[in-house]
């Protein structure tokens, strides 16, 4: 696989505070990556370093095969950080022309990209007249101007209203579907879960996990159960080698699997033992549950 970004032992200190600690990971072409972490976990700092706006303290990183300068590499990258930053007195089109000039690409694609984010009819309005959602969409259009090898998005839906969030997500999904590599930093887990195939989990500047989303926790899922004979059920489950942790909330029993088992096999087993279930659901942990589990384990 072709590497797009390689980070080795990257460290950033702000005075006594270590914002990023000995971080290493690799971004490969064609995947959609999420960087997950609570606020202040070092997501934006890491992106700032690879985007040439924050100076690293230690370690190194390189773009693509490592043979070009960071600022040359960034011409092949599209990135949006925190807030959309444009010249308020210029129109959308003028702002995008300036970006084209910086990136050294032709201005032919401005209309096409404005169309993608649904701003073509407002291209001659000044940037300062835009709503936050429109500003964010313009930022995406700007990041797409050079048909980037990788699109980097830092909290792209932060502060948007539900419609705005939905629009941005749809755009990201469309871009991901077209095969563009994406790196999405977010603290909103369902956002990452919906679009990412790989994830890097950060906490206080340290990497907790990097790899495929579905392998984040080696879990075989769990059953949610309800029955009239709750005590018998718990007794039985506790004795059974396939089940690990048990959780009881009211009349709902949650049993975590140690080994794979299908819901129908389980139902059959229960029936044989004389327990009739009124409720049976087999689930895997959502990213949110996995994430909380992962971050809690280290507290």
């Amino acid at each position: 696989m072709e590497n797009i970004l390689t980070i080795n032992n990257l460290t950033k200190k702000f005075g006594y505070l270590t914002a990023v600690k000995d971080l290493s990971f690799t971004i490969q072409k064609g995947n959609v990556y999420g960087i997950l972490g609570p606020n202040g976990s070092g997501k934006s700092t890491t992106l700032g370093i690879v985007l040439n706006v924050v100076n690293k303290t230690n370690g190194d990183f390189h773009w693509f095969d490592g043979n070009i300068n960071t600022h040359e590499a960034l011409k092949k990258v599209g990135a949006i950080i925190e807030r959309p930053n444009f010249y308020p007195y210029m129109t959308a089109e003028q702002n995008l022309k300036l970006v084209c000039k910086i990136k050294g690409v032709s201005t032919d694609k401005i209309d096409e990209k404005l169309e993608v984010v649904g701003l073509l009819d407002r291209k001659n309005s000044k940037f300062r007249t835009y709503s936050l959602g429109m500003k964010q969409r313009l930022a995406i259009a700007s990041a797409l101007l050079n048909d980037p090898e990788i699109l980097i998005l830092d909290e792209p839906t932060n502060g948007l209203d539900p419609q705005g969030i939905h629009q941005i997500r749809q755009i990201i999904k469309d871009i991901a579907a077209s095969g563009t590599t994406i790196l999405l930093a977010s603290h909103l887990l369902d956002e990452v879960e919906k679009v990412c195939s790989h994830v890097v989990v950060l906490r206080k500047g340290e990497k907790l996990y990097s790899g495929r989303v579905d392998e984040m926790i080696s879990s075989h899922g769990f059953f949610e159960l309800k029955t009239d004979k709750q005590d018998e059920l718990i007794e039985l489950l506790e004795a059974h080698h396939l089940f690990g942790k048990l959780k009881t909330e009211g009349d709902l029993v949650t049993a975590f699997l140690n080994e794979p088992m299908s819901a129908s096999d389980f139902n059959k087993l229960m029936f044989d033992k004389g327990i009739v279930l009124s409720h049976l659901v087999k689930r895997k942990e959502s990213l949110e549950e996995q994430f909380l589990q992962l971050t809690d384990n280290l507290n």
């Binding site: 702000f14 700032g48 985007l51 040439n52 706006v53 924050v54 100076n55 300068n69 600022h71 040359e72 960034l74 011409k75 990258v77 990135a79 950080i81 807030r83 930053n85 444009f86 010249y87 308020p88 007195y89 210029m90 003028q94 022309k97 300036l98 970006v99 000039k101 910086i102 990136k103 050294g104 700007s142």
Partner: protein
Amino acid sequence: MTSTSISNSYTINQNMIRLIQLELQKLWLNRTSKILIFISFILPFTVLVLSSIKINFFGFFTLELGELGIFNFPIIWHITTFFASYFKFFFAIVVVSMIGNEYSNKTLKQNLIDGLSKKEFILSKFYTIVFFSLAATLLIGIATFCIGMYYSSYTEASIVFREVEFLLAYFVKLVGFFSLCLFFGMLLKRSAFALAFLFVLYIVEWLVFWGAYEIFDSADKAFQVKNYMPLESMYKLIDQPIQRIVMTKFPDKAELGYDYAVHFSEIAIVLGWTGLFIFLSYRLLKKRDL
């Protein structure tokens, strides 16, 4: 070998034009900058033209500055460049705000993310400064030449182009002063603070003068020290011409004599400061986390 060096210089020129175009777009589409640039070019020009025409004060008397002999070659080069340089403050506001705005709009950050290097960012500002200084020098040069040709009693080329080095001094003075503004803009990130700092520097230079006076116990020595300071060295490039005008009226008063010529050493000091300010601006940006 030759072909690569040619293509190298070609790409360097291309890049220079790209960087100037970038900055010009940023300035030209901003109404405030546009007005200030206009003023900084049109105002000295207008003053120059107005002062060269005959003004009739309601029939009481006519004022014609040309009759004072100030539009004679070669003194006209000295006079126009000296007075025109006061209008540099308008463009100085443009320079500090072109840095201040990049910080307040956070577009500096976005420019870097889009693939501009920190060096290119500083260079685009510096090239623009040089570009405007050059344009201002050319304009003043042409205007001075035309007015001089009209009024001057002497029109021989050897006299007309004597002391044309005042134009060079004017150009160096503008580039130096705007580079200082650029540095203050980078240092303080806010236009208003940067302009206030110019005034602080002016006071600091007088404090240096006072300190030097305490040490050497001689005003001449103290002035020699102050001549190395940024603002004073820029001011010294073109000495005040008033005394020289008076001198032409009273040629026998020897005590009026002073050294008003443009000296290579003066230009070298200002160029040294310019280089230092641009380098420090770059260093500052390089070290800073945005």
